[in-house]
C-alpha cells in the first residue's frame, strides 16, 4: 500500500486511455496507456485533434451528435466509437467526455476503454436482432397467407351450404308423410346450421384479421341489444335446462355500435355459458353503466377456466378453447371472434374465473353514453309478402334452382338464368319486378348486367338486388353505383329475402 502522501502516476499509467483537450478538440495531454494502445509517442499525439483519432464514420457521429450534446450538457458517457491505431487498424472503444474548468479555461477530459469483446458481443446482438426481425417478417407473412387461405376456404365452403340449406327448407315445406323423413330433416337442419355457423365464424375471424370487417355503426340502446342476444341464445339455454336471469339498468345506455355485431358477441358468450355449464345450471346477465362505459357481465356456475388460461382463451385457435370446444365441436375461434368484434368497437373483453369447477364470468366493456338518442329500429319483422315476378340469376345451378323453388313455394312467379346474356334476354320477355343478381357471372359481371337492365324501358322501376359472396363496403358502393337497390351476402337467407320483398 503506497503512502497517501506519495504522488501516484495514476494519469500516465491508468487502466484506461486518458486525454485532455481544449473545447475544439486539440490534444493537450495524452497518457501512456492510450499512446501504447494507439501506437503513438507523446509528441505525435499532442499535435493532433481528438476527431483525427476516429474513423470518418465516427467523426461524423462526433460532429453531429456528440458536439451538440457536449455543448448542451457538458458531458457525454458510454459512447461507442471506432478509434484508429497508428498502423491503420481500428479499435472499438467506449468513450466518456466531460468538460471542466481548469484554471481559467474550460477543457475536455476524455476517458477511453478498448471494448473488443464487448464489441463482438454487440455485433452478435445486432445480428441476432436483424435475424429476429427477418424471422418475424416471415412469420407475419405466413400468418397473412394463412388468414387469406382461411378466408378463401370459408368462402368456398359457404357456397355449397346455401343450396343445401334451401333444399332443406323446401323438404320441410313439403311435409312428407313418412315420419323418418322428419327425423332426418331435423338432423340435417341442425348439422347444416352448425356447419354454416362454423364457416361464418371462420370467415369472420379471418376477415377481422385482414382488417376487412367494417362496422355499420348506428345509435343503439343497450337493452335492445341485450334482449335480441338473449332471444337468440334462449333455445340453447332452455334446451340445457339452465335457469336464466337478466338485469339491465333502468336508465338507457346508448352505444355507437353495429347492433348485429354486438348481438353476435353477446349471443356467442351466452351460448358458451350454456355449453360449458352442466345441465340445469345457472346463467346470469347483468348489463349496466360503470365508469362511463357500458358493461355487460355474463356469469355461469359451469366448468370454469383454469387461471393460466384466462388471458390465452381469447387467442385465435387457442388450445384452451379448442379443448373446451372439442366435446362440443368447434374450432376454438368463438372467443377470438368476440374479442375481435369488441375491439373493433373500441371496447375490451375479460374472462374471470375462480378456477376449474367454479364457473366463469365474461365482462364486455364498451364506450357508451347516457344521453337520450333516437333509437333506430332493429331488424324489421318478417311476414308473408305479396306475389311478384322474380328473376334469379346465378352461375351455380343448385343455388338458382333451390332459391327459385323456395320463392315459388311462397307464391312468387320465378324464372332463372345462369349467365348475364341469358338473364338480360330472359328479362325482356319475362318483365320481372325483382331481379336477384349474382355479381360473379361467367360471361359478364353483375354490375354490367344491372346497368344494361336499368337501360331497358321495364328496367327503371325494377327492384335490383345484388348477391355476392363478400359483404365488403367497396362491393356495396360498386353495387349502388351500378343501380342496385339492395345488396345481400351469400348464402341468401329467407329472412333477408322477406325483408326486401316485404
Amino acid at each position: 500500500m503506497p503512502d497517501d502522501a506519495a504522488p501516484i502516476d495514476l494519469f500516465e499509467h491508468a487502466a484506461c486511455g486518458l486525454l485532455l483537450t481544449d473545447v475544439s478538440g486539440n490534444i493537450l495531454r495524452c497518457n501512456a496507456t492510450l499512446r501504447a494502445w494507439l501506437g503513438y509517442t507523446g509528441e505525435d499525439l499532442a499535435a493532433r485533434r481528438f476527431p483525427d483519432l476516429l474513423t470518418i464514420g465516427a467523426r461524423v457521429f462526433h460532429q453531429t451528435h456528440l458536439i451538440p450534446l457536449l455543448n448542451m450538457q457538458e458531458s457525454v458517457a458510454e459512447v461507442a466509437l471506432d478509434v484508429r491505431h497508428r498502423d491503420g487498424h481500428t479499435l472499438p472503444m467506449l468513450v466518456n467526455i466531460a468538460r471542466r474548468r481548469h484554471g481559467g479555461e474550460v477543457l475536455q477530459e476524455v476517458a477511453m476503454m478498448i471494448v473488443a469483446d464487448r464489441h463482438k458481443y454487440e455485433q452478435e446482438l445486432l445480428k441476432t436482432r436483424a435475424e429476429l426481425r427477418d424471422a418475424n417478417e416471415r412469420l407475419s407473412g405466413a400468418d397473412r397467407a394463412k388468414d387469406e387461405f382461411l378466408a378463401t376456404l370459408a368462402h368456398e365452403l359457404r357456397n355449397p351450404l346455401a343450396p343445401m340449406h334451401n333444399v332443406l327448407q323446401i323438404l320441410a315445406a313439403l311435409k312428407l308423410p313418412e315420419p323418418r323423413v322428419e327425423w332426418c330433416l331435423n338432423i340435417l337442419e341442425r348439422q347444416v346450421g352448425q356447419m354454416t355457423h362454423l364457416v361464418d365464424d371462420l370467415l369472420e375471424i379471418s376477415r377481422i384479421a385482414e382488417g376487412k370487417v367494417v362496422l355499420r355503426r348506428e345509435s343503439c340502446e343497450l337493452r335492445a341489444i341485450v334482449q335480441a342476444a338473449v332471444e337468440a341464445a334462449r333455445p340453447l339455454i332452455e334446451a340445457a335446462g339452465h335457469s336464466f336471469s337478466m338485469t339491465v339498468t333502468e336508465t338507457p345506455v346508448w352505444l355507437d355500435a353495429d347492433p348485429t355485431r354486438l348481438i353476435q358477441v353477446l349471443q356467442n358468450l351466452l351460448n358458451n355459458a350454456a355449453k360449458y355449464t352442466p345441465q340445469g345450471g345457472k346463467i346470469e346477465l347483468i348489463a349496466g353503466w360503470e365508469d362511463s362505459l357500458a358493461v355487460i357481465r355474463i356469469r355461469d356456475n359451469g366448468m370454469g377456466i383454469a387461471p393460466h388460461y384466462l388471458t390465452r382463451i381469447f387467442e385465435k385457435f387457442s388450445q384452451v378453447e379448442s379443448a373446451r370446444d372439442r366435446a362440443q365441436g368447434g374450432l376454438g375461434i368463438g372467443l377470438a371472434l368476440v374479442r375481435g368484434l369488441v375491439e373493433l368497437h373500441g371496447g375490451t373483453v375479460q374472462a374471470l374465473s375462480e378456477g376449474l369447477g367454479h364457473g366463469s364470468e365474461f365482462v364486455v366493456r364498451l364506450p357508451a353514453f347516457q344521453k337520450i338518442q333516437k333509437a333506430a329500429p332493429l331488424a324489421a319483422a318478417a311476414g308473408l309478402e305479396r306475389p311478384r315476378k322474380i328473376l334469379v340469376v346465378d352461375d351455380n345451378v343448385d343455388i338458382v334452382e333451390s332459391i327459385a323453388m323456395l320463392l315459388e313455394m311462397r307464391g312468387h312467379d320465378v324464372q332463372t338464368a345462369c349467365d348475364g346474356e341469358t338473364a338480360i334476354a330472359q328479362a325482356r320477355g319475362f318483365g320481372p319486378e325483382v331481379v336477384l343478381l349474382d355479381i360473379g357471372l361467367p360471361d359478364m359481371d353483375g354490375y354490367a348486367v344491372a346497368r344494361a337492365m336499368r337501360g331497358e324501358p321495364w328496367g327503371k322501376t325494377l327492384l335490383l338486388v345484388a348477391v355476392t359472396g363478400w359483404g365488403q363496403r367497396q362491393d356495396k358502393a360498386a353495387a349502388a353505383e351500378a343501380g342496385f337497390d339492395h345488396h345481400l351476402t351469400k348464402p341468401l337467407s329467407l329472412a333477408d329475402l322477406t325483408r326486401i320483398l316485404g
Binding site: 473545447v23 475544439s24 478538440g25 485533434r49 476527431p51 474513423t55 470518418i56 464514420g57 465516427a58 467523426r59 461524423v60 457521429f61 460532429q63 453531429t64 451528435h65 456528440l66 458536439i67 451538440p68 450534446l69 455543448n71 448542451m72 450538457q73 457538458e74 458531458s75 457525454v76 458517457a77 458510454e78 459512447v79 461507442a80 466509437l81 471506432d82 466518456n96 466531460a98 464489441h119 454487440e122 446482438l125 445486432l126 436482432r129
Partner: protein, 267 residues
Amino acid sequence: MTVQKRNNVQVAGSGARTLMFAHGFGCDQNMWRLMAPAYEARFKTIRFDLVGSGGSDLKAYDPKKYDSLHGYADDIIEIIDEFADGPVIFIGHSVSATIGMLAAIKAPERFGPQVMVGPSPCYINDGDYMGGFSRPDIDGLLETMDRNYLGWSSNMAPAIMGAPDQPELGVELTNSFCRTDPDIARHFARVTFLSDHRADVPKMPHPALILQCSDDLIAPQTVGRFLHQHMPESVLTVIDNVGHCPHLSAPSASARAMDDFFVQMGL
C-alpha cells in the same frame, strides 16, 4: 393529427416578421436554445422538430414521404401556413438549410431571405465536386449509430444521453435531446448524406446567407464556395470555428454574421 403535434412546433417572441429555426441531422430544436431567445424581442420565432427527431410525433414518420428531403420541405410549408404571418426568414442548420432551400423553391411567396448554417447540397464526392465523403464513410456513420442506439429498443434511455455530473440536466435531456428511434435515425442519416441537390442551388428564389465555418468536417469550405458560386443572391460569411455547430460553439459570432445580413436585407 395536428401540424403542431407532428412537428412539436413552439412559437415565441413578437414582431412584425417571423424567424423560423430548423435543426439539422442528429439533434432537435434544442440546438437553437442558445441563439433563438436573443431574437425573440424583435421577431416572432418558430422552432420545431423535423418528423422523426426530438419531440415530433414518431408515428407520423412515413418512410415513403421522408425518403427524400422534399417530404420535410412540404412539412415546413404547412408549418408556415399555420403559424406564420407573411413570409418567414428561414434559418436552417446543416441538412435543414437544404430543406429550407427546397421549400423556398416550391413556395417562394412564403419565404424571405434565408440563413444557411453549415449547408451542403451534396455530401458525397463526385468528380471535381468535393462534398467531403465517400459512400463507405456514410456506412461507417450508420454502423456507429447502430452501436450507440443499442439500448433504444429495450426502452432504456440511450446511453449517449448520460450526463453523470449534472443529473438535473440529465433527466430533461435524456427525455428529449437528440433522442430518436434508431430505425428512423438510420433512414434519416441515409436520406441526408446521400441527398444531392446541387441542381436546385441555382433555383433559390431569395437572397441567402451562407454561414460557413472555417473548419467543418461535414460542410468543408469547398462546399461553401460551391454554394456561393451557384446560388444567385448569396452572401458567403466564413466564421472562425472548428466544427459543424457554430450556433452552439460560437453563438455570438454566428449572431453577428446574421445581424449583418439582416441589416443588408433591410430587416
